[in-house]
Symmetry: C2
Subunit: 490 residues, 2 copies
Amino acid sequence: MAKEKPSIPKGTRDFGPQEVAKRKYILNTIEKVFIKYGFMPIETPTMENLSTLTGKYGDEGDKLLFKVLNSGDYLSYFKSEEFMNQFLQELVEVNIVDKVAEDDYQFPDDESKLKKTINNYFKVNYLSEKGLRYDLTVPFARYVVMNRNEITFPFKRYQMQPVWRADRPQKGRYREFWQCDADVVGSDSLLNELDLIQIYDEVFKGLGVHVEIKINNRKILAGIAEVVKGVEHLQTIAVAIDKLDKIGTDGVSKELSALGFSEIEISSLFEIITTKGEDKEMLQSLKSKLQSSVEGLKGIDELEFVLNNLQQINKSIHLKIDFSLARGLSYYTGCIFEVAALEGTLKSSIGGGGRYDNLTGIFGLDGVSGVGISFGLDRIYDVLEELKLFPTDTQGSHTKVLFCYFDEASQAYALQGVTALRNAGLASQIYPDVVKKIGKQLDFANKLNIPFAAVAGTDEIAQQKFMFKDLNESKQELMSIGEMIERLKN
Amino acid sequence: MAKEKPSIPKGTRDFGPQEVAKRKYILNTIEKVFIKYGFMPIETPTMENLSTLTGKYGDEGDKLLFKVLNSGDYLSYFKSEEFMNQFLQELVEVNIVDKVAEDDYQFPDDESKLKKTINNYFKVNYLSEKGLRYDLTVPFARYVVMNRNEITFPFKRYQMQPVWRADRPQKGRYREFWQCDADVVGSDSLLNELDLIQIYDEVFKGLGVHVEIKINNRKILAGIAEVVKGVEHLQTIAVAIDKLDKIGTDGVSKELSALGFSEIEISSLFEIITTKGEDKEMLQSLKSKLQSSVEGLKGIDELEFVLNNLQQINKSIHLKIDFSLARGLSYYTGCIFEVAALEGTLKSSIGGGGRYDNLTGIFGLDGVSGVGISFGLDRIYDVLEELKLFPTDTQGSHTKVLFCYFDEASQAYALQGVTALRNAGLASQIYPDVVKKIGKQLDFANKLNIPFAAVAGTDEIAQQKFMFKDLNESKQELMSIGEMIERLKN
């Protein structure tokens, strides 16, 4: 077999023991809060049918789907008589083939007809009918529709799984990354929004990260669109102001101007969405501006309900109204959220979500409202790493004791010791190979952050004890197995 | 958007809350034992380069790899001028194109030349350079080679992740399934084999499944091959007797006969591998039969070391020597294991493994011996399900209390209650929608196996209490929030 130098696909990563431990720490913190708030886990397959995925994430999303080749002879169609007959026939019709026969073939000046011919024949659906999960929301909607008769609604589910996007890899952006989602479907109640905001707060407090949770409402954005130019421009406005962070006020203005917005419309839009101040003042001021929009006023009502109730139960949440928060996805219809860390250099969002009134409609189940939030595991990891917020017990092995020895005879004795500790439920190891040098064995323990070593030599065997070494404090003491267990259990 | 009826790819599955809870129960049981024995977790990407995967699992394995289309315009090569020029040129050479030009085209009688031409051009590597993880062993070998300078050897790693195979789906066989592997690399010591056998034993005892752990040694099989026909026939014999379970003695005999084994050779092979009896007698009898094979005797020594030491430390393990255990994969070189459940209808193996002396050699790192075992999560799940061995706390939601109410006023009061319980660390929910009928809300609690409900009505608010209902025993009692917390914490 060829000995190639191995590598992994770009945008993907291996995780070593410490990284896995740190990732699990984040996942466990999130999961505990999900469970506390009554959410239940589901898992969906890594591969979904392309018919489930395509058309759900916009044109850009479709391009970023990873597609899986059909199994078996995936190229069989291209090798079939049927394909060849049709393809060659087309080539005759666009006058390619005669030129080849004359042996001085050139591509025609007008390539469009040829390209169309070729494109018609090389269609991806002959090759692929499955794609990798792109997010957790669409598979969840698919799951709800397929299992509608078994599910007890309102259904509060969480899901923590990797997703894949063929994005250009860059710092903090990977092609394989994890999402942790909590959604409620089958309930219109704004208490769900309250729960989700508290989940954000509780998770990030648990992780020790100071965050700001921004909130807005798509109905408010609809009201703003109505007042500024007309409600039919809602999605255009949402997509444009969603880029504020990236291209700034000037960039968004230019974009809207190019889309036919007048200067007055643009400045009146910016006047509203850049409103600053206390939440209550902001809502009050917006109420007068949107008084002609029923939809807009309903959005304000919804925000007020959330803020007032939150005020009653939890005063310590760093929630902030931001009328410029838009979120790009078209399926949001009510409250929308976004979370950003207040410290560190990673300024992009580490979580987001919102209410969608008809996500399952795309799979044939209408009238099911849902609301959900998502945590980006990989970005949260980067934030905790930068701010040094990981607890120290995620740094190495869980092993408490390494048993060391000098030869075959003391190996058998050490084996009795490690067995006894394991039987007592204590994670322990025996150095597997007979290496004579104790230093090498202790070095192994140190590298793995194993705190104790139990050494077996002739003297120790004679006394039926072990030399028990505290590797952090360079202390040692002769101990029986029972004494070691007692020490370690406390 | 079209409203198609959604489905998932064949051989894949969704897991609902109960299934996820049961799967986690198995994973946690396995993981705890891995950690206790000093193994540390790693995770590798879902996608590996095809150069890492192909040629490692035999021809059959290569066919079962799921391949991922290159991102971007994966068909661009087939649409390129370069491809078309070369392809058409070839078509001229096999006289296809002139016939097309004459408009009475027929495929030639001798299709072989044409097919070869077409096959040459439609190569999969223009389309795909990545595949889905097929097992955890090859990615681990790749990981070890890439991280050789950071790893402390002997390296004891565990890995619990899904793998994908384009096998024909059938009962108990899925296209996406999970493996849980523990391997040690960089140590020749048979103490590792001892650890791995104990891990098998401890995990299955923890799960309550009675299993038999079969053990054999590839060196013994080499010795048998040497004695029967010649050591160069080891792999042929291993592949043949690996099918004993499926095609029986007659089937294996026929296969060996077809491969040039004489009747005497076949009967002498079967005489050895079907030896029954006590382990020590079996080894004693084999010693005399293999006395001419140095390799075979070394294999017997290794088994004796394992058995003798195990006898010293753990007498309750159901370990059984089976000279007919072969395991198909060619990379095994020492001890091999296989685990089968002793009860239930699922007779296929639920775990297996062995020692391989040069797995990392395929990636350019020679001289690193390894030994490992694997647990098949999905088959273990099926066994536990059939034998009803899942504990009852994997049956539903973790929520302790559902808060119920009648109207907006009592909703706000119930919200205070649920917040207080959550602040005390108790998993609880508030029914989100105002539905008036308490029956519907209690029904929701029952369906989710929530054991308690706290109902807020006008009387309860007046007394600053809740009606605390034990839903399993149909008892109820007025309680303050403090009293509820006290009751639930005990």
